[in-house]
């Protein structure tokens, strides 16, 4: 079977300490996947290593059956909101347009077609009236939606998102979830680093439990079990059982 995302043997070490150890992940196309695990489990590193942003000691990544390097233009990335300086002198439309720089290639400047496309994806996240807004004047939820719009404009087949729900209010979270589920309906594959275990069964159809090693991955109803969570989160059993009680 042709997986949308096929990660094999991914191993990353900072100095001698392993951050990711021999991690495999296979995601079928058209799936909304949550990557969960405790702090320091290597969730962000898994995404960054898969995209070649962090040097991996070992591992390979296939996207729809071909090496990532060949499939780069079909993959979009939403980094953590806090990873950039929001006081950078630019506006919302300009940030979204950055999503098209890869298609533009070297030296070419964005023109009218790019502006139109950027405005369209801003409309998809409900931010079109903020196009001219200086980015330092955005709230956390608005920043997140600008990053999502920048990924949407890339019109990718596979999306990697690092904590898109971090620090957004309930309304925005709902809007983002609708958007992600819309992407899945179009047959796109979305892998999301997620922190809130409570919402995993509601929002996602696949889950990966990660703690340096892969604990489990697969459909939520099969793999999102108390036992797997216990293995992933170790000693914090009380918290895990409270959660599984909430699940029922």
């Amino acid at each position: 079977m042709d997986y949308a995302i096929d990660i094999r043997d991914m191993t990353v070490a900072y100095r001698e300490k392993p951050v990711l150890w021999d991690v495999d992940l296979q995601v079928p196309p058209g799936v909304l996947l949550a990557i969960v695990g405790p702090n320091g489990a290597g969730k962000t590193t898994l995404i960054k290593a898969s995209l070649g942003l962090v040097k991996a000691a070992a591992g390979s990544v296939l996207i729809h059956g071909r090496p990532y390097a060949e499939q780069r233009s079909t993959v979009a990335y939403v980094p953590q909101r806090g990873s950039v300086d929001w006081d950078f002198p630019t506006n919302v439309l300009d940030v979204v347009t950055m999503g098209l720089y890869g298609q533009l290639g070297w030296f070419k400047r964005p023109g009218k077609a790019e502006r139109v496309a950027a405005l369209k994806s801003l409309a998809q996240v409900g931010m079109e009236e903020f196009a001219a807004r200086q980015i330092s004047q955005l709230s956390g939820g608005q920043q997140q939606r600008v990053f999502l719009a920048r990924a949407l404009v890339q019109d990718a087949r596979v999306y990697f998102m690092d904590e898109p729900f971090q620090g957004v209010d309930a309304t925005t979270e709902r809007a983002i979830v609708d958007l992600l589920q819309g992407l899945r309906k179009q047959g796109k594959t979305v892998a999301v680093v997620h922190h809130d275990l409570q919402t995993v069964p509601e929002y996602f159809d696949h889950v990966m439990l990660l703690n340096v090693r892969r604990i489990a991955s697969g459909p939520v109803e099969e793999e999102f079990t108390e036992e797997n969570l216990r293995t992933t989160y170790g000693g914090r059993v009380a918290f895990v059982s409270a959660l599984s009680a909430a699940k029922k």
Binding site: N91, V95, K108
Partner: protein, 376 residues
């Protein structure tokens, strides 16, 4: 005002002014990028690290030709920057410590070499020590041509790679996922940065060149929220400071160039920090004061509305004393009430009684809706 005509007629002064303007534009523009990438201090390290390069270039070639010395300075400055990166990524030493160590090691080594050169019997070495604090008056046409050629090439490359450098500075990881070679672009921008620094060393000096890098960008950032405008403005401020300092120091013989330029550019930074319309401290204070006033207006408006809501009419008048008690935090209500009257939101019934006007009622309702989500 004689100097203005001198600027166009006096050969020396014209040369000096042109050279300083060119280096100011180049250093200011690239410095703007450095500021956004939080690499301003790297500029300081690079300029100090360039000193031994100048000395070694002279020792190897025996020439003081500007191009020879600039190449020596660039190689040494680039090595300094590369060493800082290597130390930071390969060891546990933090960036700021690596920066400080490299800066002093290279600078110290440079001073040792300069002293050694000066002890040589050969008289050709005279003038190399002017690289410490810079000497604008020493600029000749040949230097200006070199600065122009190199500066123009640097600015051309910056314009060519504009959109790549923009994302590199804003979100380099994202640039990587788009398929651009981030490391190579990073090296290119750093190289342009190094070149922008070393072409100014003869005029401004290694000790204070960092001011030409940091200050114009910091001042320009205050005035605009667009990258393009910021970089252009930064280059312009660099040119103004460069010309001002160089001209002043070439007319007054005992005035050192570097420090004069620093003083001028610092004044521009200081002025920008205070008076820039959006980010400046003065206007921010004024906006806060105005916002505070509007908050007090709304508070008294809501108080009047709340009081009136206990009566049949929303425009029922109430005594000022009651409002004083209600707005304990913001002080006496009188001044705010007068303001309300000016805005035609409230009217004075008699010497102490006030009531809302119809437009005051509707504004109060919208304030309440905004604050509590429901119209009462």
């Amino acid at each position: 005002m004689e100097w203005i005509t001198d600027l166009f007629t006096d050969y020396t002064l014209r040369t000096v002014a042109l050279g300083s303007a060119l280096l100011g534009i180049t250093a200011g523009s690239l410095g703007g990028f450095a500021l956004l990438r939080r690499q301003s201090l790297l500029g300081d390290a690079i300029s100090h690290a360039a000193l031994p390069g100048i000395a070694i270039a002279f020792l190897l070639t025996g020439s003081k030709a500007p191009l020879v010395l600039i190449i020596g300075a660039a190689v040494a400055g680039w090595s300094g920057a590369a060493l800082i990166t290597t130390v930071t990524t390969r060891t546990r030493i933090k960036y700021d410590s690596a920066l400080g160590v490299m800066l002093s090691v290279f600078f110290g080594f440079g001073l040792v070499l300069l002293t050694f050169i000066q002890r040589q019997p050969n008289s050709n070495q005279a003038g190399l020590d002017s690289f410490l604090f810079g000497q604008a008056a020493a600029l000749v046409e040949r230097d200006v041509l070199v600065i122009f050629a190199i500066g123009a090439a640097v600015l051309l490359l910056m314009t060519l790679f504009w959109k790549e450098f923009k994302i590199l500075s804003f979100d380099s990881d994202f640039l990587g996922t788009l398929g651009f070679p981030v490391r190579r672009l990073d090296h290119l921008l750093t190289t342009l940065f190094v070149i922008a620094i070393v072409i100014g060393l003869q005029t401004v000096g290694v000790v204070l060149m960092s001011a030409m890098i940091i200050a114009p960008g910091a001042a320009a950032r205050q005035w605009t929220d667009r990258l393009g405008r910021m970089i252009v403005l930064s280059g312009f401020i660099g040119a103004v400071a460069g010309v001002g300092g160089a001209v002043a120091s070439s007319m007054i013989p005992s005035l050192p160039t570097g420090p004069t330029i620093v003083l001028i550019v610092s004044c521009i930074v200081f002025f920008s920090l205070l008076f820039a319309p959006n980010r400046g401290l003065v206007f921010r204070r004024i906006r806060e004061w105005k916002a505070g006033k509007m908050l007090r207006v709304d508070a008294v408006l809501v108080d009047l509305y709340t009081l009136a809501s206990q009566h049949s009419s929303a425009e029922h008048p109430h005594s000022e004393r009651v409002l004083d008690v209600m707005s304990t935090i913001s002080g006496p209500a009188r001044r705010t009430l007068v303001l309300l009257k000016d805005l035609e939101l409230a009217r004075q019934i008699d010497s102490t009684h006030w009531s809302l006007t119809p437009s005051g009622v509707s504004r109060a309702e919208s304030v309440i809706e905004r604050q509590f989500g429901v119209a009462s």
